[in-house]
């Protein structure tokens, strides 16, 4: 079926079902019309970033996740979490403050740390594993000064994270193409932050797409720093579309390296589908099922 048909049909079903029926999981929905997939191997815990599938509701995406074998829909707020619970899903990466302002400037600490603390408390209530943190942009600040500030900020919330058993993950982003001037744009910088904070609950969100743009050498970097990595994101390079044969990274080999490193966290699909979004998501999970 074409994407247009697919979407409009689901829209029609949704309208007919109405709000009251939304909670009834047995109600007819597009996901059930597809044949049951072969079981996943389970060496990688799969997650998906909601923003990449903006045209689907959380409920619609959740139904597909259940069918495909995805265990988490991430970067959605607490308002959506009861829906995730109903489908047996988690939010593997809970949103906090934005990309900028971030933790590399002291003047941002009050507001950023408040949102991190708040989300740690919320995540603990639902048993969700991680919350995100971001460095913010350089704006002329030297990297070592920003590093000190990040460490100082994260140290203030590390205790709460340890107590609540929720991991704070500082995300590495590319500053070359998508997030100009973002400070946490190399693994080495992020690892240094983690070392100085010295908490098992402060780690990195290693975004494979972003780090391939910034530094390459993905498998070696992952192997050498796996103890500092609390979460992964994916995406095709260079265009952030599907992670398939249209782009330069061979994801199965990267996923094997992650699984072989005894990594126990989630891998979040975070690419912008250029085709039928659910077919692309399903393909991505098959590619990462090693």
């Amino acid at each position: 079926m074409s994407e247009e048909n697919h979407l409009s049909r689901r829209g029609a079903l949704g309208a007919a079902a109405g709000a009251a029926a939304a909670a009834a999981l047995s109600a007819g929905h597009a996901a059930e019309e597809k044949p049951p997939p072969t079981p996943l191997k389970g060496r990688i815990k799969h997650s998906v970033s909601k923003w990449c599938f903006g045209r689907l509701s959380v409920e619609e995406l959740a139904k597909h996740c259940v069918r495909i074998g995805i265990k988490s829909i991430e970067l959605v707020g607490p308002g959506d979490w009861p829906a995730l619970k109903r489908y047996g899903l988690v939010c593997a990466m809970c949103p906090t403050h934005g990309i900028d302002p971030g933790l590399s400037r002291r003047e941002n600490h009050t507001s950023c740390l408040a949102s991190i603390r708040n989300m740690i408390e919320e995540a603990e209530k639902f048993g969700f594993p991680s919350v995100i943190a971001l460095s913010g942009n350089r704006k002329g600040m030297a990297d070592d000064e920003g590093l000190k500030n990040c460490v100082e900020g994260l140290k203030q919330v590390a205790g709460l994270a340890e107590e609540k058993k929720v991991t704070i993950c500082l995300e590495l982003l590319n500053s070359k193409v998508d997030h100009h001037d973002y400070m946490a744009d190399h693994t080495a910088w992020g690892v240094e932050v983690c070392k100085r904070v010295g908490s098992p609950r402060v780690k990195l969100l290693y975004d494979i797409y972003h780090m391939q743009i910034m530094e390459g050498d993905v498998i070696r970097t992952i192997r050498q720093n796996i103890q500092y990595i609390g979460h992964f994101h994916t995406g095709g390079v260079p265009d952030r579309h599907e992670i398939d044969e249209t782009q330069e990274l061979y994801y199965p080999a990267i996923m094997r390296a992650i699984a072989d490193a005894k990594y126990e966290g989630y891998v979040g699909q975070e690419f912008v589908p250029s085709r039928d979004p659910i077919a692309s998501l399903e393909q991505a999970i098959r590619i990462c099922d090693v």
């Binding site: 923003w51 903006g54 391939q212 743009i213 085709r275 098959r286």
Partner: protein, 296 residues
């Protein structure tokens, strides 16, 4: 994380290909859409959009019969065997292939080596002309405590000494990019922008880069974008799996078919040379396997 990028439909991806049924029908989902061609024991007729070459030592080992290996390479579809012993160049050309590139020394990051480098490169240009070879491989040498700016200056000041002769002979001097992180500690020319800067300063069509994809994946990643943005400065490519510097197979992180398609879609008309240690005892099988990966 969150950017507001909306999904951009791409031309050329028709609805038929998008459906799950379509994917299953072509076997794409079942076999995983990666490396399908590479797994075929006998590749179909070579497409040859990429002119493939290999470094002599990559597939021709001690004890092998060079003439037999040259014949085999030509049959598989290789367009060149590079950097081998001069005694075999005529046989390579007689087999319908070319010697894409050979080494011409270097070390000119240090002015003490300039006279020797000039002699070596000038001699190599003459030799290249004699055989109709159009590219020479140059190595900058190590930093040895020099600043990046000083290294750039030294390279850019030296190269004009040999550029005229290269231009007249229609030979392109290709400065090789190597990784300084794992294999060649302290090597100066370890990132594409440094090489591009030298090319721009010297400003001659006879000076370009040897983009070693294996080395640049270790140093900087972002392969396809970097190739597209800088293709006019690239005179030759090398390949190899990362990590490990073995075959371009499914045990490493670079998806070479996509990189090769990106190269083939540019106006690049040079060669792509295999340069790694193939796994397994069956060298001919390795040649075929890796040829198929890059034959897009």
């Amino acid at each position: 994380m969150s950017t507001s990028d909306s999904a951009k439909p791409r031309p050329g991806h028709g609805p038929l290909a998008l459906t799950r049924r379509g994917l299953l029908a072509t076997g794409a989902l079942a076999a995983l859409p990666f490396l399908g061609a590479a797994r075929a024991a006998e590749p179909p007729k070579a497409k040859r959009r990429i002119k493939q070459s290999f470094a002599w030592g990559c597939y021709i080992r001690r004890g092998a019969d060079p003439l037999q290996m040259i014949k085999t390479a030509a049959e598989i579809g290789f367009a060149s065997i590079e950097m081998g012993p001069e005694q075999h160049w005529k046989a390579i050309q007689d087999a319908g292939m070319q010697v894409a590139i050979f080494g011409a020394g270097g070390g000119f990051v240090d002015p003490k080596n300039w006279d020797g480098a000039e002699r070596g490169i000038t001699g190599a240009i003459e030799k290249a002309q004699k055989y109709g070879i159009q590219r020479l491989l140059l190595l900058t040498g190590n930093r040895q405590g020099r600043s990046e700016a000083e290294c750039l200056d030294n390279c850019s000041k030296f190269l004009p000494r040999v550029v005229k002769a290269a231009e007249q002979a229609k030979v392109r001097l290709c400065l090789e990019l190597l990784n300084s992180k794992v294999n060649h500690k302290d090597y100066f020319l370890d990132r594409t922008p440094l090489g591009v800067e030298i090319c721009k300063r010297v400003n001659s069509p006879a000076v370009g880069l040897l983009d070693d994809i294996y080395h640049m994946q270790i140093m900087e990643g972002d392969l396809i974008r970097t190739i597209r943005d800088n293709i006019q400065f690239i005179g030759h490519f090398h390949t190899g799996g990362n990590p490990g510097r073995n075959d371009m197979d499914d045990q490493q992180e670079i998806y070479y078919p996509a990189v090769m398609r990106a190269i083939a879609d540019t106006p690049y008309d040079g060669y792509v040379g295999h340069e790694f240690g193939p796994k397994g005892q069956d060298i001919v099988a390795a040649m075929k396997r890796n040829f198929a990966v890059c034959d897009v």
